[in-house]
């Protein structure tokens, strides 16, 4: 009962650097996605959130090497590289890219591009393709006749709607959305988020929403994971992450985010994230942390449970560490 649709186990991604050496972009990420769930993956630039979901889609460049397991209904889709991912791409697991501007080929009609994944998987041919494209467009709020338009004839909001139509073309069960509203105005953002929630309900989708924007995750997702320096540092219900954070980074990130009605001061987090092209020692957040204590510099804190459905990677939650220091 309620088996996860998607399980990510100890995912690692390394990028080979041109000047030599490697960048360890994702450092042992694990999470589960349950059926119909909306899960947020939050973090700042360079934390590995986009790399993580590109790895799930098997869309990383050839300079990347991947380790770990990605189970889709129990089957490891990473096991044999492209060979094992491609049958699932778009049909089981689909993605909406950041900035729909670049997601479409500028010289091809929108309708033809939406049809592409269907053709690739032999799911529709000839007239039925055109009909299906029309239905998909109507479903995301675009008149079917606009299938013959080119991407530049669409506004940013319409392109993002079309990107959703394309992602849904092969009726996937898992949708990965990478900053789907980042370049959009606040009213258009609200329209797209509402549409995303409706589609998730109608199609029975499980959603992974990747964003740097905590308030969006707070309003859209039930659960979320906060990433820092390639790792998940805290995960739990969005409610508990806001009201009872167990990792200083989560708490500080919320305090750095201005709120419409918030009275308290907005505070920035000093320092910068660590470089990922060298080995990390101790807690990666320690140099910027306001609660740093003895073990942080030398011992990396593992992600450990701190309550029902909640886990954090911080020594503060470990009574043994606190007593020892």
């Amino acid at each position: 009962m309620n088996e996860p649709v998607l399980t990510v186990e100890d995912l690692h991604v390394w990028f080979e650097l041109e000047r030599g050496g490697e960048l360890h972009a994702v450092q042992g990420v694990s999470f589960e996605l349950r059926p119909g769930e909306r899960f947020g993956l939050v973090g700042e630039s360079g934390c590995g959130k986009t790399t993580t979901i590109l790895a799930l889609m098997g869309l990383l460049p050839s300079s990347a090497s991947v380790a770990g397991r990605v189970l889709l209904d129990g089957e490891d889709v990473l096991a044999r590289g492209e060979q094992s991912v491609s049958p699932h791409r778009w049909t089981d697991i689909a993605m909406v890219f950041q900035g729909a501007m670049n997601a479409f080929n500028p010289v091809k009609r929108i309708g033809d591009q939406i049809a592409e994944p269907m053709k690739l998987h032999g799911l529709a041919e000839g007239r039925s393709t055109r009909q299906r494209v029309g239905e998909l467009l109507e479903r995301v709020g675009i008149p079917a006749a606009r299938a013959s338009s080119y991407p530049h004839e669409f506004s940013g909001g319409m392109r993002q709607r079309a990107a959703l139509a394309m992602a849904l073309a092969c009726k996937p069960r898992v949708l990965l959305a990478d900053e789907p509203t980042t370049a959009l105005d606040v009213m258009v953002q609200a329209q797209i988020l509402q549409l995303l929630a409706e589609l998730a309900d109608d199609f029975g989708l499980s959603l992974v929403l990747v964003t740097h924007d905590l308030p969006i995750v707070a309003q859209v997702c039930e659960r979320a994971a906060v990433m820092y320096a390639g790792e998940i540092v805290e995960t739990g219900s969005t409610d508990s992450l806001y009201h009872d954070p167990k990792h200083p980074y989560t708490r500080l990130l919320f305090s750095a985010t201005p709120d419409l009605y918030g009275e308290e001061d907005v505070v920035s987090i000093p320092g910068t994230p660590p470089r990922l092209d060298r080995e990390l020692v101790g807690c990666p957040f320690a140099p910027r942390c306001d609660r740093v204590f003895e073990p942080c510099a030398s011992i990396a804190p593992p992600l450990r449970p701190t309550g029902a459905g909640h886990a954090a990677a911080c020594h503060l939650n470990d009574p043994v560490m606190r007593v020892a220091s």
Binding site: V186, M187, V188, Q191, L214, Q219, F254, A256, L260, S268
Partner: protein, 335 residues
Amino acid sequence: MTSGNGSAPLLEVEDLVTSFPVPRGVVGTIRGRPKLAVEAVAGVSFSVRKGEMLALVGESGSGKTTTAQTILRLVKPESGAIRFRGEEITNASGRGLRSLRRHVQLIFQDPYESLDPRFRVRATVEEPLLVHGEGGGARERQRRVREALVRAGLTPPELFLDRYPHELSGGQRQRVAIAASLVLDPELLVADEPVSMLDVSVRAGILTLLDELRSSGLGILMITHDLSTAAHYADRIAVMYLGRIVEEGPARDVITSPKHPYTRALLSVVPQRDPRAAATPQILTGETPNPIAVPVGCRFHPRCPIAIPECRDVDPELRVPAGARAGHLAACIRA
């Protein structure tokens, strides 16, 4: 209340109109089709005082950036008046314009593009002094460069003087850009989305810096699409829609008791940090109409949830709505 102290505002903008010609194309020109123009700014008035931050808030196409560009005279106004320290600069040229650009400084959105990658911090910050032939000898200029870096929070300056932009973080780059705008000791800063390209964890630092500069007496006009940021840092907020200010007032009043239906809708869709925040988003359909075809009557009426037939005829003026405090204005006949 405004931080008004009886003195004349630093910047006064009155009924400003800025329009751009719409290309007719070769065929259109040959056939002599009528020349069309888009009014990106369609009659905007506001003022900024010393020690005050005004946030100009709006979606893309609202005209907020064009307003800023017109004030800096990067774009020529069609009509209206711009006064800086009481002096008319609407049609200034030559020396008048140079003086304007010395006292009013612009901070750009993208610190990755606004800094010359070949210049060390020292040279970037010194450049405005050289351009305006100020700062005396080399030693005096170096003193002012250091001072500007300290004011921008880059301390000790020795740590940054010889660095190149690629050796700095995004937040540090924006601080260098701010230092370069402070070195001339300006009176007004125009900040166009100063933090939207930066990571959340460093945004507050830049905004707090602007807030400190405001406290020290600078006037700041901040252009932003982010209502939460405006709510937190601005003294006053002006909400723009299709080239007009539709609501203006003390930040707190505009946020907690908005009078214009557009402002109310915008506020209702801003995501909040607390998942328990009970939001009833009032999602407007469609997108901001094309400024080539501005609706007659109230320009917001086709999307307005409370429009009445009269709204199709009356182009409402900004006035103090019922129940609003002084200084709070809205352009809505139903407010």
